[in-house]
Amino acid sequence: MALLEGLRLSKRFGGVTALSEVSFTVEEGTIVGLIGPNGAGKTTLFNLVAGALKPDSGRVVFRGEDITGLSPNIVCRHGIARTFQVTRPFGTMTCLENVAVGVINSPRSESDGNWRATALHYLETVGVEDLAFTEARHLNVVQKKKLEIARALATRPKILMLDEVLGGLNSQEIVQAVDFIRRLRDELHLTVFWIEHVMGAIMKAAEKVIVLDQGQHLMEGTPEQVVADSRVIHAYLGE
């Protein structure tokens, strides 16, 4: 069953068409990869879903409900959490407080006013609990990405949207990260919508891959189908 659905979404910035009539579905419980060359419109698509941008036309449907154009905080309350391509930690707050913001604003929060234990739990989930009392601005890039995932999880989402979380990792770490995301999905009954440039990771993790190119939906299919498709190869490598 489709948990998240985009229907003919379009977005223009001035004269530039960032997305043109893109439709897609993300099925409940799956990991769906979103790939495409730079400037294909992947992050724009995320922003339309998350409410950070309003589409010029088209609709976003989540669990059968039209959430098009709602503000980001309302979208979050519906159960959609995201990370940012360039991390956006609350620099002057500790990691624990960073995660707490997600905990206390979630309508599904289990914390009953005591956010500390809950926030710590999510820091442990991503493995940065030893940084709980460190201000987030002192973290390195990888730690910041982990913190963003913890923060997003703390809102208790139904779907987690990851925007290039593997940047800066070596190949060993990428393998671990892929295992980690899969485990998250299984243990927390999540659905994952995942933009990634590291193709190997997406090919290993995703059940379905959607390919965007120049703001258009190029194709979608299993990872095997996608890598074998001549249009995809063409989009990435040119003539």
Binding site: A50, G51, A52, S71, P72, N73, C76, R77, A81, R82, F84, R88, P89, F90, G91, T92, M93, E97, N98, A100, V101, G102, I104, N105, S106, P107, W115, E135, R137, H138, R151, A152, A154, T155
Partner: protein, 318 residues
């Protein structure tokens, strides 16, 4: 800081302060009363600038709203000054709500400019509506107590300062306070985690304006004369300097800044209005070299304070 510790420190400090009228003469008591006024102003401005990142230049203007509302009600309609102060506080909070909503879509410099404009409009209106406000001559208003005594006003301001600090503490160290700081750090990230950014910004603006209105109302009745000096930009920059020098974004910073700068300004009073200039320069230097103000300096020096930010490679100096 736990709740119990905060209240212990607050009431202990207030207890010590309440002994001051026994030992201080009228002049020194006056300095203390003015310091308490600035404590309220700087602390409530800090809620706005230090905790939600909205650098408003209308804070002194809201104090003026509180002072003039209460003063005019007393002079024109014979309203009891205490009731006037409460109405003045409400008026300031309502206008704060209005300006807050107006500035919603603005960030950074645009919000600052809009509030600067609001402040200037208010000054022009007050100066020109001579019939009601007595312009630059100042509006003579009745006092809050039957028999004038510095000690009485000192206790009134002390009580109001405590109320201000308790309100701010409750807000800053609650879940709302976490959201405030999240919004200050990064609005987009805060919104993505479910924080209603609009509500946070308007709430901070309203509460902060109300507290300024309260401070201004009481201060006007203490002075018995309300002049356009109260809502002036001079005062605004003084409050700004106190907050920045004391430590913007820390709870105690503005308290320390208010007392140290007010007391210091008494010593350099001979140089007239130049002291505002001096404070401005100090604030600039502090903002550049010690962005967390005196509080930040203290925290990095004290053994119990938060560890110095980064793990800087040792350079041989300690």
């Amino acid at each position: 800081m736990t709740d119990i510790r905060f209240y212990l420190i607050l009431f202990a400090a207030a207890g010590l302060f309440s002994l001051l009228p026994l030992g201080l003469g009228d002049y020194h008591l006056h300095v203390m009363i003015v310091s308490l006024y600035y404590l309220m102003m700087a602390s409530s401005w800090n809620l706005l600038a230090g905790y939600t990142g909205q650098v408003s230049f209308a804070h002194a203007a809201f104090a003026g709203i509180g002072a003039y509302t209460s003063g005019i009600l007393a002079v024109e309609f014979g309203v009891n000054p205490w009731a006037g102060v409460i109405i003045g506080t409400a008026a300031a909070s309502l206008l704060g709500l209005g300006v807050g909503v107006l500035c919603l879509r603005m960030g950074g410099i645009y919000l600052s400019l809009t509030t600067l404009g609001f402040s200037e409009i208010l000054r022009i209106v007050i100066t020109n509506e001579y019939d009601i406000t007595r312009g630059t001559m100042g509006l003579q208003v009745p006092g809050l107590v039957e028999e004038y005594s510095k000690a009485a006003y000192f206790y009134i301001m002390l009580g109001a300062a405590m109320i201000t600090l308790i309100v701010l503490y409750k807000l800053i160290y609650s879940n709302k306070g976490l959201c405030f700081r999240a919004v200050q750090n990064d609005e987009r990230a805060a919104a993505s985690l479910g924080v209603d950014v609009v509500k946070v910004r308007v709430l901070a603006f309203t509460v902060s304006s109300a507290l300024a209105g309260l401070a201004g109302g009481l201060y006007g009745h203490y002075l018995h004369l309300i002049t356009p000096e109260i809502p002036s930009l001079d005062q605004q920059f003084l409050v700004l300097s106190m907050t920045v020098i004391g430590g913007m974004g820390s709870f105690l910073g503005p308290v320390i800044g208010a007392f140290s700068l007010e007391i210091l300004s008494e010593y350099i009073r001979a140089y007239g209005e130049y002291h505002v200039l001096v404070f401005g320069l100090i604030a600039l230097v502090v903002a550049r070299f010690a962005p967390n103000g005196l509080m930040g300096l203290a925290a990095s020096r004290l053994p119990g304070g938060p560890a110095p930010a980064v793990t800087v490679p040792s350079t041989g100096k300690s």
